[in-house]
């Protein structure tokens, strides 16, 4: 099968989980002998074309810009579409698979131009990310999302929570929506590291590492983790919070840490390379995922694969990935007291923490590998092609 994948994020252009998802899926499909053509956007240092483990990656140069965000989105879609159209003179894809609304204008045009079925994966929605539609841009993005779900032959979501959200918000038939969970590449985290050396980069020898990793945006709930720091320290004085990632909220979070006088106990690393990220996850004592909105929460899977006990908000896909008390600890979202309790459960009881890790690794291997995701995705492609 020839699959044309459209995504605005693809390594090394990694912001959130979408890049990792697209790369993992593309690689798994290519390993099964399918021809995968990824159309994505340029990134400094990345070539215009490369073969990544059998995945053919084409990066569109954005030749025109505009200060307005939505105009810029339409412009980059134009250049993605041009690149895809040139490619499709040589290769006729069987399926177009688009990821999120950002590439929906080019995906919809290509669907019509090539007369090829469009599959859309909705990784998140504007109404969820922004916790409501708060302005004209939000309404426009919401409109693009609705249009893309309307045009797609089938819509993929990564959790049952997202299925409910997408079906309800876009008034979409549930039959059109398929839940295919995210996955994790276990081997990435089977790295041999000098754990003590890695820990020394971020914490003192006597400290325990409470790790957050993700985009620093309100959706991720990092403010509640920081608010929980004094409570965590009361129970576990040796704890230190290490926050990995970038985002517009970083200044606000650093100010928050200062305002509650715990800046010495919160360390912001900024963006880390994939390798550094794997090493820090493997070396942490607990991974906290305090999101207030999380369609899936691939970071929880990564933590589980890395052998870190996971404490996560009971929200969206996280509540489906983690079985409370068995494969991790679920806490109330937006609740610092609950987060502190969850962290304490792990830091204060080493045997319990180890049992969570063991259970979660078993569950991961059974349910969240790329092989299973690729098989389900191919089955969906085949159903679509049969009509």
């Amino acid at each position: 099968m020839k699959i044309l994948m459209l995504t605005w994020e693809f390594p090394p252009r990694i912001v959130g989980g979408v890049a990792r998802h697209c790369f993992g899926l593309a690689q798994a499909l290519a390993q099964r002998g399918h021809e995968i053509y990824v159309i994505t956007l340029e990134f400094p240092g990345a070539p215009a074309y490369e073969d990544m483990d059998g995945v053919k990656v084409y990066r569109a140069a954005i030749e025109l810009g505009h200060p307005n965000f939505l105009t810029w989105v339409l412009l980059f879609n134009h250049f993605m579409e041009k690149l895809a159209a040139r490619l499709c003179h040589k290769v006729k894809p069987d399926v177009i698979h688009a990821h999120d609304w950002l590439v929906s204008p080019s995906a919809i045009s290509l669907k019509q131009y090539l007369n090829t079925p469009l599959i859309l994966t909705v990784h998140s929605t504007e109404v969820g990310r922004a916790q409501g539609l708060h302005g004209p841009d939000s309404f426009t993005i919401d409109g693009f999302e609705w249009w893309a779900t309307y045009e797609a032959r089938r819509v993929i979501v990564t959790s049952e929570a997202m299925k409910n959200e997408v079906a309800g918000h876009f008034n979409l038939s549930r039959d059109k929506i398929e839940t295919i969970p995210n996955a994790v590449d276990f081997e990435r985290f089977e790295v041999s590291v000098d754990r003590q050396m890695i820990r020394r980069k971020y914490i003192a020898p006597h400290e325990k590492m409470v790790l957050f990793t993700g985009r620093l945006t309100p959706q991720k709930g990092v403010e509640y983790l920081i608010q929980a720091v004094p409570l965590i320290l009361k129970r576990n004085p040796e704890a230190k919070i290490v926050i990995v990632g970038e985002g517009w909220l970083r200044d606000g979070l650093q100010n928050l840490a200062r305002s509650i006088r715990c800046q010495d106990k919160v360390f912001f690393t900024g963006f880390l390379s994939e390798r550094d990220l794997e090493e820090i996850m493997v070396s942490s004592d607990v991974l906290v995922v305090p999101s207030i909105y999380e369609p899936f929460g691939i970071v929880a899977l990564e933590g589980m694969a890395a052998g870190a006990p996971v404490v996560a908000s009971r929200t969206g896909g996280l509540a489906e990935v983690i079985e409370h008390g068995q494969t991790g600890i679920l806490v109330y979202p937006r609740d610092p007291e609950s987060i502190a309790w969850g962290v304490s459960q792990v830091l204060s009881n080493q045997n319990y923490a180890q049992q969570l890790v063991k259970n979660s690794k078993d569950k991961l291997r059974k349910n969240f590998g790329w092989n299973a995701v690729a098989e389900k995705t191919i089955k969906l492609y085949e159903e679509v092609l049969k009509g």
Binding site: R13, V15, E63, N68, F69, T71, Q131, G247, W248
Partner: protein, 89 residues
């Protein structure tokens, strides 16, 4: 609502809007770098405002200065790109 205030209640840093606009107009490589006057014309922001925001963005590694014989030019670094994309993703 304050134009810089996010629904979460956190204020979007003012210099962040400049970073986003520089990214959106494609100033992401040394060869595409622009002077403050050129930036002002492209994004319709006062040169004085641009000059007040640039030092912090440079200090944090989100903007790089490309030196020429005549004037300084500016472009968004990969770290700056990731910072911008975090709000769009």
């Amino acid at each position: 609502m304050d134009p810089h205030e996010h629904p979460s209640g956190f204020a979007v840093p003012e210099e962040f809007n400049l970073l986003c606009m520089l990214f959106n107009i494609g100033v992401i490589k040394p060869e595409k770098s622009l002077t403050t006057k050129e930036i002002s014309e492209r994004i319709r922001m006062e040169v004085s405002a641009i000059e007040s925001f640039l030092p912090k963005l440079i200090q944090e590694g989100y903007i790089m200065v490309s030196k020429t014989d005549f004037t300084d030019k500016y472009y968004v670094t990969p770290e700056g790109i990731r910072k911008v994309l975090s709000i769009y993703s």
